[in-house]
């Protein structure tokens, strides 16, 4: 009987620590979820004179994938986007983050270009606006321009299949 309290405390502590081990401290929840997407006003990678803006993308859900040629983990997820882009479900916008234009183009030539438009963020200032802190990051934005989902780190094929595609389907059927 007298050991019941310490035992109970131990079990409670063990459960909390166990939960703590399962959490990933790198996954900081984005403050943009269910809020309007920040501005994306940038020149495009392939044509400096052309610019992209949020208003061009209104009316349809879209994916924003933040990547860079220097980012090793981006290679890991790239083929998933390449195969996704073949299905042509929604616009896939790339945000090329703090990269050299030539390196970025060479990288796409080597691995394939799944993006409909690529915004070129040399200074990383748009990255700050979007709260990007580790490439790759992937956002899903709905037809009204509201951020619905953010994924930090490389997208796995199961994340694509089980989270992003179902989310896009529900966004499209609502819209």
């Amino acid at each position: 009987m007298r050991y019941l309290l310490p035992l109970g405390l131990f079990v409670a502590l063990a459960v909390f620590l166990g939960i703590g081990l399962k959490l990933d401290p790198r996954e900081v929840p984005s403050p943009f979820i269910d809020k309007p997407a920040p501005a994306l006003e940038l020149p495009t990678l392939f044509d400096n004179s052309k610019t992209i803006s949020n208003s061009d993308l209104k009316g349809k859900p879209w994916i924003l994938n933040v990547w860079a040629s220097w980012c090793v983990a981006c290679r890991q997820e790239h083929q998933i986007f390449v195969s996704y882009s073949r299905s042509k479900r929604v616009p896939l916008i790339g945000l090329n983050y703090k990269d050299a234009a030539n390196d970025a183009k060479a990288w796409l030539q080597e691995l394939g270009n799944p993006y409909d438009i690529i915004a070129f963020d040399l200074q990383g200032s748009t990255g700050i606006e979007w709260g990007v802190y580790g490439v790759p990051e992937t956002f899903v934005i709905d037809a009204e321009g509201i951020v619905r989902y953010k994924h930090i780190g490389p997208v796995s094929s199961s994340t694509m299949k089980n989270t992003i595609i179902p989310l896009l389907q529900s966004l499209q059927s609502n819209g």
Binding site: P25, R26, V28, P29, S30, P31, P38, V72, A73, Q76, K98, G124, G127, I128, E129, W130, G131, Y133, G134, G153, P154
Partner: protein, 152 residues
């Protein structure tokens, strides 16, 4: 996994080559506020470092941003707000008291109260038991000893 290893390598490697940039301030108040702010904001890449200590590229960009905002006349609250709207509450090393952080701020007080309560109970209990265990013989013996001492 690879990205984690690279992050670790970069966190260790960068201090070897990069030192904190020097800044020019038009007024000393701005300067002290700048150092105060980069001390209070967390770098999200090397999560247990603040912007002042971290040499990651993001920390450098955010130091630039902080400098820019201060030079543009933003108050400390406006800078915190700027960071929080983009990176979330996590960016603040000292989270504000609100609904979500109630447990965080309240728990130490609750634990202190529990501690005081337990301490009082335990010390009271031990006082009672010592009083009870001293039996009459021992008291008499002690009295005799004291008497001997005073006679000498």
């Amino acid at each position: 996994m690879r990205s984690i290893i690279f992050t670790i390598i970069f966190c260790i490697m960068q201090p070897l080559q990069a030192a904190i940039e020097s800044r020019v301030f038009e007024n000393p108040v701005y300067e002290s506020r700048y150092y105060q702010m980069i001390d209070k904001l967390r770098c999200l890449v090397c999560q247990n470092q603040n912007l002042a200590d971290s040499n990651s590229e993001l920390a450098r960009d955010l130091r630039d941003k902080t400098y820019e905002l201060i030079a543009g006349g933003a108050t400390n609250n406006e800078i915190s707000e700027f960071m929080v709207t983009r990176y979330g509450q996590f960016v603040l090393y000292e989270p504000p008291v609100n609904r979500h952080t109630l447990i965080l701020w309240g728990a130490p007080v609750v634990f202190a109260i529990i501690g005081i309560f337990v301490f009082v109970r335990v010390s009271r209990k031990s006082k009672n038991t010592t009083l009870l265990t001293v039996d009459a013989n021992h008291v008499a013996q002690a009295r005799d000893l004291l008497k001997d001492k005073s006679n000498n």
